[in-house]
């Protein structure tokens, strides 16, 4: 059940633990990179979230039409 703490639908989850883990993962990714590379990572993160929103819009539209 190592993944349980990341699953927001598992009972009694702690937002603090999840946020701490996420910030640690970001640290492992970003620390030591040049500022230029860090900028690229931020830009790619933005693209991921943009795609996520677009997928959601398409999925909602499909559900409405069904």
């Amino acid at each position: 059940m190592g993944h349980a703490k990341y699953d927001l639908e598992v009972a009694a989850v702690s937002s603090v633990d999840i946020a701490k883990q996420i910030h640690e993962d970001i640290d492992q990714t970003m620390r030591g990179l040049s500022v230029e590379d860090q900028e690229i990572v931020l830009r790619e993160a933005q693209n991921i979230v943009k795609s996520l929103r677009r997928i959601e819009q398409i999925a909602s539209k499909a559900k409405t039409q069904a």
């Binding site: 993944h3 990341y6 699953d7 927001l8 639908e9 598992v10 009972a11 009694a12 989850v13 702690s14 937002s15 603090v16 999840i18 946020a19 701490k20 883990q21 996420i22 910030h23 640690e24 993962d25 970001i26 640290d27 990714t29 970003m30 620390r31 500022v35 860090q38 900028e39 990572v41 931020l42 830009r43 790619e44 993160a45 933005q46 991921i48 979230v49 996520l52 929103r53 997928i55 959601e56």
Partner: protein
């Protein structure tokens, strides 16, 4: 208008009804609305939180979308900053504190967005002691403390 910056732990607990701090977070958001305070977060910091976790850990797409949805529902403004300015500040903070890069993205976001308050449930990393280290840098750079 008083500007209150929301860090990731607040956003996660607001998005999940089963979170230990969900009801307290909802009450907190209601109070912000009652007082007419503006709730904001840094776009780059939040996008980094969501993207990294989706790519590196099994946080589900639906969970990330729910965080974005509650931000819209509670009128939490996601404000963009110049990425280079944000990163240069984070890198300067790294020399002053042992906090993680992800924490510092939010500290830098709150600073550059001129937030009056920063709210977080993570009191291990967001507290008066760490704030002092952050403010040492901010004072040197003539930024809001």
């Amino acid at each position: 208008m008083v500007r209150v910056y929301l860090e990731l732990s607040v956003l996660i607990s607001l998005a999940n009804p089963l979170d230990l701090l969900h009801s307290q977070t909802r009450n907190f958001m209601d109070e912000l609305r009652t007082f007419g305070f503006e709730a904001v977060s840094c776009r780059q910091a939040v996008e980094m939180d969501l993207a990294i976790e989706l790519t590196r850990r099994p946080l589900r797409v639906g969970d990330a979308l729910r965080i974005l949805e509650v931000m819209d529902a509670y009128e939490i403004r996601l404000l963009s900053l110049n990425s280079r300015d944000l990163l240069l500040l984070v890198n300067e903070y790294l020399g002053e504190t042992s906090l993680k890069f992800g924490d510092l993205l939010h500290y830098a976001g709150a600073t550059l967005l001129n937030a009056d308050y920063l709210s977080s449930w993570n009191t291990d990393d967001f507290n008066e002691r760490t704030e002092e280290s952050i403010n040492n840098v901010n004072v040197r750079r003539g930024l809001k403390t």
